[in-house]
């Protein structure tokens, strides 16, 4: 939470017009004072924030809801509702459906593609007041919780029960489990525990007509017809509002180790990954890549504790490997023999590295990786591309993008300062970040559709884990065929004929 709040504060206010306002908002109505009077019958006054009469709040109080944390997307909503129960959510949605008012469901508002903020003046439905943990079974490991539970608080809740949430994100202090599910968030534990499509066992969803779809089963196995909940995982709130989540927590690892490795060249990442996977097998829990530029930025902005500068001379990129298992001696032995074999060859794949010898060092090494997002946003205005490409193309994508910007004469102090890459090698997921002095139409035009076409040329995905939101609707076509998009639209129309749910997001 701390880092996010900090980031929110340091990002300079620089309003940016989003050029392509999607047409999804046509035919929707604005919230009126009459609507507000109706909401006042459903909710206590403390759950309503509105700039409309009878008791208007100042628009500054709505700012955190109207703007995303990067301050890149700006909505103009007049009203934020914070229901506490599924029933309240249902009543609100029912009314909005009758009145054709667009609703933006909002969790921790930590999204990176503008999926959680309004495009115009849609109603914001914040899940922040739904924070009850409904049940936990320490035999099956099944946790059932309200959608508004903050990821960190779930994690804290599970710690004494010796379990962990199968999901970990840099934004864990602010993001909410409902938002995580709705965006199918990936994050740092995906390599180990798989995606939410596997670990979410059931959902409670308020459908666009106000009906509550209760699929909060706690079953590992349930092959009875269509698995509807899967539709809502990653739907970004366009099909309904997730209000409750049943998720399979994993047994807490009793021993965790990590090691930061410095590599002489990018070509070594792939063989290193192969070797690490072969030797560590079941205890490998993360394999994170960062290029030299972004590592240096993290160090510059004080994220974590860096390796000794003289040791990493000539290192082109870094890899953070984490292991987690149940037996410390076993894990350490495996890790040690891996490191020994890595160092003890004719042409080592790595230059050097550090092995965390204490929990403090363990956190300090992770802090570098987790602090990258914050470090780049301190450096300038960031164009973020979260893409899936073949692992051996990570560097190529970064280099080609940089060269492209150079050819457009946009690579200098006053335009694009850095083009960096980092990400989850294990998942084939690269975060391509373009750090500019300011958001400008020229840079945007140089990047898009260039990046998307580049990704499409590798048959990659234009959004590996960040989703589509409002940022990438026009680019969906680069990763999905016309047939796929057509069927997505049909599903949307089936669930939400009035188009009130998170209008203008996901679908072009």
């Amino acid at each position: 939470m701390f880092s996010r709040q900090l980031a929110r504060r340091v990002v300079l206010r620089a309003p940016r017009r989003w050029s392509h306002t999607p047409a999804g908002l046509a035919g929707l109505n604005s919230v009126t004072e009459e609507d507000l009077a109706h909401f006042a019958k459903i909710l206590p006054s403390s759950s309503i924030l509105s700039t409309l009469s009878p008791s208007p709040t100042s628009s500054s109080e709505l700012e955190p809801f109207n703007n995303d944390w990067m301050n890149k997307y700006h909505g103009k909503s007049t009203t934020v509702l914070k229901p506490r129960t599924t029933r309240e959510v249902s009543e609100i949605v029912k009314w909005c459906n009758q009145r054709k008012i667009g609703i933006v469901p909002q969790g921790g508002n930590t999204g990176l593609v503008g999926g959680g903020v309004p495009i115009k003046d849609e109603l914001i439905l914040s899940l922040a007041n739904m924070t009850k943990i409904r049940s936990f079974d320490d035999v099956s490991g099944i946790l059932v919780a309200d959608a508004g539970c903050i990821l960190q608080s779930l994690s804290d809740y599970l710690t004494p029960h010796d379990h962990v949430v199968p999901l970990d994100l840099g934004s864990k202090g602010s993001c909410q489990i409902g938002g995580n599910v709705s965006t199918n968030a990936g994050g740092l534990r995906l390599l180990r525990y798989g995606s939410l499509h596997g670990s979410v066992l059931g959902l409670e969803v308020v459908l666009p007509d106000g009906t509550v779809l209760d699929q909060l089963t706690s079953l590992r196995k349930d092959n009875t017809g269509y698995d509807l909940k899967q539709l809502f995982i990653g739907a970004e709130g366009t099909l309904g509002i997730v209000t409750g989540v049943s998720i399979l927590a994993a047994p807490a690892p009793h021993a965790s180790n990590n090691v930061m490795l410095a590599l002489p060249k990018f070509e070594n990442v792939q063989p290193l990954y192969k070797e690490v996977k072969r030797q560590l097998s079941e205890i490998l829990s993360a394999f994170e890549f960062m290029d030299r530029t972004v590592y240096d930025l993290a160090v510059k902005h004080g994220q974590g504790r860096a390796l000794n500068p003289q040791d990493i001379d000539g290192a082109e990129c870094f890899v953070l490997v984490e292991t987690s298992g149940s037996n410390r001696d076993h894990d350490e032995q495996k890790l040690n023999s891996l490191l020994e074999s890595l160092m003890d060859t004719e042409e080592p794949l790595i230059n050097t590295g550090v092995l965390a010898t204490s929990p403090a060092q363990f956190s300090a090494l992770w802090a570098i990786r987790e602090g990258l997002t914050e470090a780049v946003s301190k450096e300038g205005k960031v164009y973020k591309y979260d893409i899936s490409v073949p692992r051996n193309k990570f560097q190529e994508v970064v280099d080609k993008t940089r060269e492209h910007l150079r050819s457009k004469d946009l690579l200098h102090e006053d335009a694009v300062k850095y083009v960096v890459g980092y990400g989850h090698v294990g998942d084939g997921n690269l975060h391509l970040n373009v750090i500019a002095a300011a958001y400008t139409p020229e840079i945007e035009a140089a990047l898009e559709p260039f990046v998307y076409e580049l990704v499409a040329s590798y048959k990659g995905s234009i959004s590996a884990e960040h989703g589509i939101g409002m940022m990438k609707t026009h680019a969906l076509q680069y990763s999905k065929s016309p047939t796929s998009i057509e069927w997505m639209k049909r599903i949307k129309a089936l669930f939400d004929p009035n188009g009130i749910m998170n209008p203008g997001k996901v679908l072009p």
């Binding site: 390796l307 000794n308 890595l342 050097t352 204490s358 929990p359 403090a360």
Partner: protein
């Protein structure tokens, strides 16, 4: 004290394997100790001591002849020695005690260290002992002072800065004291205990970890040193600090007043 006139420094760094400072301490049900089946690492102050010795060598180059680390502890304490060797120490001594042995007390540790220093005379003696000001498990904070007393050497405790002049055989030390800093000049041989601000210890790099595996660790027993590590104190009871009781919310001023009265708080008439 030293037999040879060669002006080269031999540094001894005593280290201790302790429960890692980030681990939450749990008291055993028998209330005689704490759960030791948790992550251990080098006592943070000792890590600072090792770092300072290595930095001295980086500054003085060949004038530091050797950096030797020593520990008293169970077989696993050798991991702590390996960490120190990976940070840059040359060799190590492990005074091994069984896993079941009780933790030795400061005076017996100081006597064991005295015996080690005397044994080191054959290797050119010891000119400088750098050690943590205290171990974070028992927080005794006495060993350094006792060792200086037993050896009749100079002592500089709670150091936050160290400058050694090997030719003049003196050290300038800045000490953290109540209300400020104290600068003292000491003649070697010297026992120096480290405070937090002395330095920030480095990570042990992988190549150095590998090299450390080949560095020698000499194993000794308390009997070899003719010291008795049996504690003189008996632990009667170990308990956790009392749990904080959470507060409650009241709906009105009246309720607050009622609660205050229940708690035995009465208004004072002025």
């Amino acid at each position: 004290m030293r037999p040879s006139a060669v002006r080269l420094l031999n540094i001894l760094v005593p280290v201790k394997r302790t429960v890692d400072y980030a681990v939450k301490i749990r008291v055993n049900p028998d209330q005689k100790g704490v759960d030791l089946n948790v992550k251990h690492s080098m006592n943070p102050f000792d890590e600072i001591a090792v770092e300072e010795a290595v930095r001295l060598r980086e500054k003085l180059k060949g004038e530091v002849k050797s950096i030797k680390v020593v520990t008293i502890g169970p077989p696993k304490a050798s991991e702590t020695l390996r960490t120190a060797l990976a940070m840059g120490a040359d060799s190590a001594i492990h005074i091994e005690v069984p896993d079941s042995a009780p933790a030795p007390e400061p005076l017996s540790v100081a006597k064991a260290l005295r015996a080690v220093i005397q044994k080191e005379k054959d290797n050119g003696g010891v000119d400088l002992v750098i050690m943590g000001k205290q171990a974070i498990d028992d927080d005794a904070g006495q060993t350094g002072q006792m060792l200086a007393g037993l050896m009749d050497w100079a002592q500089a405790t709670f150091a936050s800065k160290l400058v050694v002049d090997p030719k003049a055989k003196v050290a300038d030390v800045t000490r953290e004291i109540d209300g400020g800093l104290e600068e003292i000049k000491c003649r070697l041989p010297l026992v120096l205990t480290t405070d937090l601000r002395l330095n920030e210890p480095r990570y042990a790099s992988l190549p150095n970890i590998m090299k450390a595996k080949k560095k020698p660790i000499q194993k000794l027993t308390p009997a070899d040193l003719e010291v008795d590590l049996t504690p003189r104190l008996e632990t009667l009871k170990v308990t956790e600090p009392p749990k904080r009781v959470g507060g409650g919310k009241v709906e009105s001023v009246d309720e607050l007043i009622t609660k205050l009265k229940e708690a035995g708080i009465t208004p004072v008439k002025s």
